[in-house]
């Protein structure tokens, strides 16, 4: 283990708890857009436990913070679904805008935010029954979203305006629209709620935005067509999926910079970090697989088959 001792400790503890059965490893909920299903992956056993059919081309995913429910957008059928994690059944389904894609949930697990690509709008719904609670106007083609862990800011990547919108919660009031690189698609908040990072598809870089000054403070070049980011809070590092380079870029957050590039499957898209198993996860859209990388060494631990065309766009890993 090359990284700070904290990582070893966490891994050791998680491993011990997993071994004693005190803590079940999380599940990854992988949306297969072409295959019209979700592949549920047990990150402890490193194997799929079920492929759940879901029509409408599932794309965006948000797992509730307590792991009890999973929210999935299906752009082709214009819907948002709520799936109960224990029964793996759709408990609620609601037609939203014409092109719902990005989805996220607040840290309290009460409100769902769904970005509609066509309407330039984010809809707010109740996490318990998907009843509508309001909406927020956005810039052009809102795609990825995230909420800072302190629950105070909603971040919206406005792809066709080359901007990151920052909205206050719960009011929804827009605080700033911050110019970033070209075509920001995925956005991820830092664990300390002080920064956000966008993956800019057309300028092939990652922007760092300071959430206090509400300005872009740095930008680093990564591989071709970056899509989404995931942060390892223990090591203070992140990966970004380079869609057209079949790789992930490893970034150091402080000081901000590129550490290196690691080959993954073809057309990597959704990425996540799982603290319980100390792993980065990468959904490979063309290869139809979920790759599990050691978060320290970035070596491939496993490549798990998924359904056809996994997107896994959003925070698709959660406890159970």
């Amino acid at each position: 283990m090359r990284s700070p001792g904290g990582g070893c400790w966490l891994t050791g503890l998680a491993g011990l708890l997993l071994a004693k059965g005190a803590l079940a490893a999380p599940f990854a909920w992988v949306s297969n857009q072409t295959g019209e299903s979700l592949t549920i992956v047990d990150l402890g056993r490193l194997e799929p436990v079920q492929e759940l059919p879901l029509s409408g081309g599932p794309a965006g995913v948000a797992v509730a913070p307590d792991g009890t429910a999973v929210f999935v957008t299906t752009p082709a059928s214009h819907r948002l679904h709520r799936i109960a994690a224990d029964t793996r059944a759709v408990t609620h389904s609601r037609e939203v805008g014409p092109a719902p894609l990005g989805v996220c949930i607040d840290p309290a697990g009460q409100r769902i935010y769904v970005a509609d690509w066509d309407l330039d709008r984010v809809d707010i719904l109740s996490a318990s029954d998907l009843s509508p609670l309001g909406s927020i106007a956005t810039g052009a083609s809102p795609s990825g979203m995230d909420i800072t862990p302190d629950g105070r800011l909603l971040l919206i990547a406005e792809r066709d305006d080359n901007s990151l919108a920052v909205h206050a919660l719960p009011s929804g009031e827009r605080l700033a629209r911050i110019p970033v690189g070209e075509a920001p698609f995925g956005v991820t908040a830092a664990p300390d709620s002080r920064h956000a990072y966008t993956a800019n598809v057309r300028s092939h870089d990652v922007s760092r935005v300071d959430l206090a000054s509400l300005r872009e403070t740095a930008r680093v070049r990564v591989g071709a067509s970056p899509y989404a980011l995931a942060i390892d809070p223990v090591r203070g590092r992140a990966i970004v999926s380079n869609q057209h380079d079949d790789s992930v870029e490893l970034l150091l957050l402080e000081p901000f910079g590129v550490l290196g590039r690691h080959t993954v499957g073809e057309y990597p898209e959704g990425v996540a970090h799982d603290p319980a198993t100390d792993a980065f996860l990468v959904a490979n859209w063309f290869s139809n697989s979920l790759m599990v990388l050691d978060a320290g060494s970035l070596e491939v631990r496993a490549e798990i088959p998924t359904g056809n065309g996994p997107r896994a766009f959003g925070r698709f890993v959660g406890p159970r």
Partner: protein, 180 residues
């Protein structure tokens, strides 16, 4: 060609549930492969020059390359008949792994109904000797808003890409097996 046909069937089958809906675009994929009765090196030699496409693709009349066989190099294709121009850029080039990936940077959807197109060509040893040539393409349809006209929908895009590479792979196979 049997190999091409069977893979093609799978690719089309996978795309059909999508074409039935009226909605925004989702990325499509086509994967085609052909077995070649020639060493991997011989098959790779047919395609290894980025501009060799003017020799192995019947629809390409002329190719002009800017830069070497490396990421960032570009080529300008002049199509047979129409004289239309298509421009490509190399994204990755791996001579040792016998593979390269490129994207379309300029194209009229009237000629080739796709957008945001990238494709990888790769050569690997065949299972029973010889070699296997694979192409994997990811792309969106020509019309990127809702309710596309039939000639610019998902099905049309998948059909065009499949047709493009059916013709290309058959010619590469012929050239490699002919020892050229």
């Amino acid at each position: 060609m049997d190999m091409i046909r069977s893979t093609l069937t799978l690719a089309l089958a996978a795309s059909i549930p999508f074409a039935a809906h009226a909605h925004g675009p989702s990325r499509q994929k086509v994967e085609l492969a052909v077995d070649v009765q020639a060493d991997p090196a011989a098959t790779w030699a047919v395609i290894s020059e980025f501009c060799a496409i003017e020799k192995w693709h019947p629809a390409v009349a002329k190719c002009e390359q800017q830069g070497g066989n490396e990421a960032g190099a570009t080529r300008t294709l002049t199509l047979e008949g129409s004289g239309a121009i298509v421009k490509n850029e190399l994204l990755k080039y791996d001579a040792e792994g016998m593979s390269y990936k490129y994207k379309i940077t300029e194209n009229d959807v009237k000629n080739f109904p796709v957008t945001t197109y990238a494709a990888t060509l790769s050569v690997a040893p065949g299972e029973g000797g010889g070699s296997k040539l694979t192409v994997k393409a990811g792309f969106y349809r020509g019309y990127t808003n809702n309710d596309p006209p039939p000639e610019l929908n998902d099905e049309a895009a998948v059909k065009a890409v499949t047709g493009l590479y059916e013709a290309g792979l058959a010619e590469i196979k012929k050239l490699a097996e002919g020892g050229q």
